[in-house]
Amino acid sequence: MNTNSNIYTVIYTTVIVVIVAAVLAFVSQSLKGNQQANEKADTISQMLTAAQFGTKADFQKMGNKAVLARYAEEIAEAFTVSPDGSRTGDIALDEVFSPSLLKRQNYNIKGGQNATGAPELPVFIFKNGKKVVPVYGAGLWGPVWGYIAFNEDNSIAGAYFDHESETAGLGAKIKDDPAFQAEFIGEKPSLGESKVFEIVKGGSPKDTENKEVIDNKIDAITGATMTSKGLEAAINTWLGAYSAYLLSATPKVEEEVPAEVNEEAVEGEETTKTVEE
């Protein structure tokens, strides 16, 4: 048989490609369940890491089942809100906002031709009072996303970021460098303003007592300017959309704060008394 004739070549390549496509489609379908379970456990462990229940490495060692169990144990409430701060729906316990869902909401926040409807922003409230919200945006080579946990007074309790294909050793530090993620802790984003959060050169300075200044700035990653800028844009877009909700959810705290201050004041008096004696 002449294997070099045009008809043979066309038929041959067509058959090969169809067979390969069929094999891939079959394998992809049959492994989908497992892959989604893995992705779900990974996403949940990222949220738990952001809310400071442990380190990402701890959760990786625990295995999928233990991570899901821990989540079920710690989560108090999960629901979606709209950018004006009103609640739009509930999120079931077994439902997770995977990066692909975040991508869709990212389009919805930004509007434009890719938007599919009004943004529905997920909020996860844990039993220790921490609110975890996701952020999503474009890094240098691919998407970057992450989870930011807020204390009741809207200061940041923790953060965890992930990426698809940032440069190892540079941009990938947003995920791999715990020191970078720790920089977020304690900072206070200016919710409701046009620039909610900044990742800048020389951010997060130390004051005279060598304590970190609480503001809405942290230090960018050296050698990863584009990733830092992409992450900053992602945080600003998402926290901008969450501002109304986060600001409206604070009054509860204002009642508690004076009580704490009083306690401290009382303690302070006692100590001064003991000193006098």
């Binding site: 041959y12 390549t13 390969v20 094999v23 492994l31 497992n34 893995n38 999928n64 294909s165 050793g169």
Partner: protein
């Protein structure tokens, strides 16, 4: 024939190693050798891809139209790489490693060893020797990967397969070892050792 098969299997491991002698697949060997776990998974993935795609293409070798043979090779190799990636993603134990290796599993498609061995060997030989040739070349590649990863993880993190080895003795991990250039330095040392053992590789 048996001696020839043995040669097919053993040559790529040392005498004709794809990385140190043919200098193929350098790029990925710099990228995935920070930890032993990553290197091991990468090595096994490459062994499976080179072995099975050599086998498939050797079975097809008499039917492939020579004008489109590179395309047919690419389709088969790409299929194998995607299969490996999908399988790694679906197991709990390998999901995190697959994520860590990220693009490099997909980039096995462009690893010169795979296409090189198919062009040079599988298209002209029977399926069984082709399969062995693929596996052996993958193993030769994997061996170098593991040697480099051994030093990089031990000196760079003080651990092996994640277990603490040096840190308990107060070792301070060397950051330079983690960076890609050090992999190149180690590769150079391996080539040096091999060339001083195997004198016929030395240029006059």
């Amino acid at each position: 024939m048996n001696a020839k098969l043995k040669e097919t299997l053993l040559n790529p491991i040392f005498k004709n190693n794809p990385i140190t002698v043919l200098v193929l697949g350098i790029c990925s060997s710099l990228a995935v050798t920070v930890t032993m776990k990553g290197a091991l998974v990468m090595a096994l993935s490459v062994i499976v891809v080179t072995g099975v795609s050599s086998l498939i293409l050797s079975l097809l070798r008499n039917t492939i139209p020579s004008r489109v043979r590179i395309i047919v090779q690419l389709v088969v190799v790409a299929m194998m790489v995607i299969l490996v990636d999908q399988v790694l993603k679906s197991f709990e134990a390998t999901y995190a490693i697959d994520k860590q290796l990220s693009v490099y599993i997909g980039l096995i498609i462009t690893n010169c060893i795979v296409m090189g061995r198919i062009e040079a060997f599988a298209l002209g030989n029977k399926p069984w020797p082709s399969f062995l040739d693929g596996v052996a070349n993958g193993a030769g590649y994997g061996m170098i990967l593991l040697i480099v990863a051994f030093f990089r993880e031990l000196l760079g993190s003080g651990t092996l397969f994640g277990f603490d080895i040096l840190n308990r003795f107060g070792y301070v991990p060397n950051n330079l070892v983690i960076l890609p250039p050090f992999a190149l330095i180690l590769l150079g040392c391996i080539v040096w050792v091999q060339r001083s053992i195997q004198k016929d590789l030395q240029e006059k």
